[in-house]
């Protein structure tokens, strides 16, 4: 009998093992399973394929997807991934490792997580970061729970209506089951309204608020007065941020906020149809023991050598079970490595340049689109790389025209606007080609 390439068991090996165990057959190892539960049918699965057949199968599926030049953000940003990143992250010592519970043989993972935490702190201006969470929206949901844990006897969390829609939906799901009373802060002129916030704070039951640094319209929000208002009521402010943008826009630390969350995807992680990405969370030192997820700390070994360990584990589910700060067990470790390698390559000057290029391209596109007469401006607030316009033409016709020309652009928003985004990957020629197509609509 020829074996299967992933299974080393020969007939002889099986005989040796069964003899040692003292049973006659593999089926005898399942004698404790009631016969009525044993699956005796044929699995509705294809026959085993060769590796070449599997590759061909997926290549044919990949070819069924349309490759488009991405001019949309909405929570997933098409920034460039330097080739060093996949090269490093595909090293099997990183890729095939387990969670670093055995610190002595996991210093590689632990060290890069420590570096990742340091870089997230550098970007956000916060004191401590965890080792990462699933994605941005779940990080926001975890922050919502954390706000309740950080404040006593307060029951409500307020969400800005300018948060990205998918963030709101995930937070709402968690809130519904966790028993959190959600409220909403209205938008005014495309930005979270301080007046609306102040009105909601009057009831004195607000544990925290979640506001976006760059909002669903791409606008850079002005949070003057927010921290003072919320802190006066002993609540916490959570900022949902695009970590790439934090290289140039005012940080949660500078706004005197308490918790920063978001998705690390814009930091070198490919779009990949929505995942895997990586959620990040950073906070002030005072709140570290309320933080969910793994945290890596520096210490020394028995010989005094500098080393790294998972620490403050008394917060976590494997120790505290139902009393843990969260049910999260894993982190998105390998994606945190993507981010760490990306930020190492980019450094402070690269991060600034990426933002400058994105800003310049986005503003060029914005102005050129307005010149076509097919759109009206909606807001006049400062934006970075993403913006919305009011279309004067049929949205579906516009989108189809752009798609036929090889572009994914003009994403329709819930408000009836269309959304555009430009990163450093988009060239001026591509923008001009897109605008030329718009003129034909």
């Amino acid at each position: 009998m020829a074996g299967f390439s992933y299974f080393p068991h020969t007939e002889e090996d099986l005989r040796v093992m069964l003899d040692k165990i003292g049973v006659a057959s593999l089926d005898d190892l399942y004698s404790d399973v009631p016969a009525s539960f044993l699956f005796r049918g044929e699995y509705d699965l294809p026959d085993a394929m060769s590796e070449q057949q599997v590759r061909d199968f997926f290549e044919s599926l990949a070819a069924k997807n349309t490759r488009l030049k991405v001019f949309v953000g909405a929570g997933a940003y098409d920034h460039y991934t330097p080739s060093v990143i996949p090269y490093i992250t595909s090293r099997s010592e990183f890729l095939t490792a387990y969670t670093p519970y055995q610190a002595e043989i996991s210093q590689g993972t632990l060290r890069y997580i420590f570096e990742y935490q340091s870089m997230i702190c550098a970007l956000t201006g916060m004191d401590v970061s965890n080792a990462s969470l699933y994605d941005g929206p779940t990080a926001a949901a975890e922050a919502m729970k954390m706000a309740l844990a950080c404040t006593k006897k307060k029951t409500r969390v307020l969400l800005s209506r300018t948060l990205l829609p998918h963030v709101i939906r995930v937070v709402e799901t968690y809130a519904r089951f966790h028993g959190v009373e959600l409220g909403y802060i209205d938008a005014k002129d495309g930005q979270t309204s301080l007046e609306s916030l102040q009105a909601s704070l009057a009831a004195d039951n607000v544990a925290g608020i979640i506001v976006p640094a760059l909002n669903r319209y791409g606008i850079i929000e002005d949070f003057t007065g927010f921290a003072e208002a919320v802190h006066a009521r002993k609540g916490v402010v959570i900022e949902y941020c695009d970590p790439s943008a934090l290289a140039v826009v005012k940080t949660p630390g500078e706004w005197d906020f308490d918790i920063a969350v978001g998705d690390g995807q814009p930091l070198g992680i490919p779009l990949s149809f929505g995942g895997p990405y990586v959620g990040f969370m950073a906070c002030r030192k005072d709140y570290v023991r309320k933080m969910p997820g793994r945290i890596v700390g520096q210490t020394t070994d028995a010989d005094g050598k500098r080393c790294y360990v998972l620490t403050l584990q008394a917060r976590e589910q494997h120790i505290r079970r139902e009393k843990a700060t969260s049910n999260i067990c894993s982190n998105e470790s390998l994606m945190a490595l993507y981010v760490t390698v990306y930020l190492s390559l980019m450094g402070p000057s690269g991060m600034k340049k990426v933002n400058c290029l994105s800003y310049a391209g986005a503003h060029y596109l914005h102005d050129e689109l307005l010149k076509t007469g097919r759109f009206e401006e909606v807001f006049t607030k400062p934006f970075l790389k993403e913006f919305v316009l009011n279309p004067r033409v049929d949205i579906k016709t516009l989108q189809q025209k752009l798609q036929d020309g090889g572009f994914f652009a003009a994403l329709a928003t819930e408000e009836g606007y269309v959304s555009f985004c430009v990163t450093e990957k988009r060239s001026k020629e591509e923008i001009d080609a897109l605008v030329a197509l718009v003129k034909e609509v």
Binding site: L45, N65, V72, F177, L337
Partner: protein, 467 residues
């Protein structure tokens, strides 16, 4: 493995950079933004060249153990071989360049549908959602579905969920996040859920029960038929924690055992790499009567960890219907072989046939005597590292004080397993002779045991704290 002592920040020198970017031909820059909205504080990221980065992370990688380096006898973690074709598939530009909201994704949708059908065939469930990014995330999603089912029926009083005392820590934690109160059901002397202890717990407040089958002792819950009938009769649902699905592959389907909701860990049973702690994927499957509830639960940003789904689908297609039937049995025979080969030197509290894993309760002779402390499970685990093996899962499940939980998988050869058995026997001899050799282990790893107490008491959690 060798020790390397640098942080990327310590390689930094002003003026170096590791990127190339196009020129800005637009004549515009972020300086146009109002200063009060701009970052004013410095950005303390390292300034390093590309070769610096590559060498630094290559050096770091060499302090790591992985499945490609050696054997992980890690209970409840199913550290099987991660096939390389999976990586190639996940890296195909036709998939990695796709925006989650873009049109023209027929190929990607076919992947999701194909994987859904394959998992349904393997588990006997009707349909899966792929949004959960990990096993614990799947548990939470599954419990949300359980509560939604009761709420939709106007049965709002069902706020308690039964969890066995042998369950993974994530079970009670997920229940708490979902707003459910945990009721613990005890294990009997055979390590199985005690049906007599379960009966009085059932009632109109019970939303359901979370079961792992085989459980964390590696034992098949053979009363599952009666348990399912009892829980359903009281109006509750059954949740299957798929962390231990591997030995059931090709043998038993959770749907056939009466489970209504389950999750799978694609990074365990379906061979996707653990990545040092993620990304995983924890798809949740439901029976036909719950399918309509799936779209009501939004637990992650887009479609879940699509890159992980690609790998799992490639794995299933490689195995095909023939080999799916073998994986579970091969894992089980290997686990029983190790158990039988070591039970004279390690305490085996439950001597029955196990499935993919089993639990020892420390050494038969730990070398302890008057004035000399015996070797513990931790010491055995650390000594294993010296011989090129990862440690087993230790001090879990909580039912035994010196728990040492061992799970080989179907991708380990008899030679590897025999080498592991030989080392475990040698360690047992060393412990009996003089536990101090174990207590000071590891001796050959890049570092020796870290001072975890100081790490927790005086936390140093980022580079700035070290300056």
């Amino acid at each position: 493995m060798k020790y390397y002592d640098k942080l990327i920040f310590e390689l930094s020198k002003p003026g170096r950079c590791g990127y190339t970017l196009p020129e800005n031909g637009y004549g515009r820059c972020v300086k146009e933004l109002p200063a009060e909205l701009c970052r004013q504080v410095p950005l303390p990221l390292p300034e390093v060249s590309e070769p610096d980065v590559v060498r630094h992370y290559t050096n770091l990688s060499q302090m790591n153990f992985g499945v490609d380096t050696g054997f992980y006898p890690l209970g409840s973690c199913t550290m099987k071989y991660n096939p390389k074709i999976n990586e190639e598939v996940a890296a195909m530009p036709g998939f990695t360049a796709l925006h989650p909201l873009q049109p023209g994704t027929d190929g990607a949708c076919a992947v999701i549908n194909g994987l859904d059908k394959a998992l349904a065939a393997i588990t006997g469930m009707a349909k899966f959602t792929f949004e959960p990014c990990a096993g614990a995330h799947g548990e939470l999603t599954g419990l949300m579905l359980m509560r939604s089912y009761h709420m939709a029926r106007g049965d709002a009083a069902r706020t308690k969920v039964i969890v066995p005392d042998s369950a993974h820590g994530t079970n009670p934690a997920s229940a708490a996040v979902c707003g459910l109160e945990v009721v613990e059901v005890k294990s009997n002397a055979q390590g199985l859920v005690d049906v007599e202890d379960l009966k009085p717990l059932l009632g109109p407040e019970i939303a359901g029960i979370m079961m792992t089958n085989p459980n964390t002792l590696g034992l098949f819950e053979k009363e599952i038929g009666e348990i399912a009938a009892l829980v359903h009769a009281c109006g509750g649902l059954l949740y299957y924690d798929g962390a231990n699905m591997n030995p059931m592959l090709g043998v038993v389907r959770p749907g056939d055992m009466g489970f209504d909701i389950m999750h799978l860990n694609l990074h365990k049973t379906f061979s996707t790499p653990h990545g040092g702690g993620g990304p995983g994927s924890g798809p949740v499957g439901v029976a036909a009567h719950l399918v309509s509830l799936l779209p009501t639960i939004k637990v992650s940003g887009f479609h879940g960890n699509f890159g992980v789904m690609l790998r799992a689908y490639a794995y299933i297609l490689m195995l095909g219907r023939q080999n799916v039937k073998l994986a579970g049995k091969y894992a089980t025979v290997s686990a029983n072989y190790i158990k039988e080969s070591l039970k004279d030197v390690y305490k085996l509290p439950i001597p029955t046939v196990c499935k993919h894993e089993f639990v020892f309760d420390g050494l038969v002779n730990d070398g302890g005597e008057e004035g000399r402390e015996g070797a513990t499970t931790l010491d055995v685990a650390k000594r294993l590292l010296d011989f090129g093996f990862h440690a087993p899962t230790i001090y879990f499940p909580l039912l035994f004080h010196q728990a040492l939980m061992i799970e080989p998988t179907e991708t380990e050869s008899l030679e590897t397993i025999d080498a592991f058995i030989a080392v475990m026997r040698r360690i047992a001899e060393e412990a009996a002779a003089d536990p101090s050799l174990l207590k000071s282990a590891p001796h050959c790893a890049p570092i020796r045991r870290p001072d975890e107490t100081t790490a927790a008491r005086q936390p140093v959690l980022q580079y700035r704290d070290t300056l």
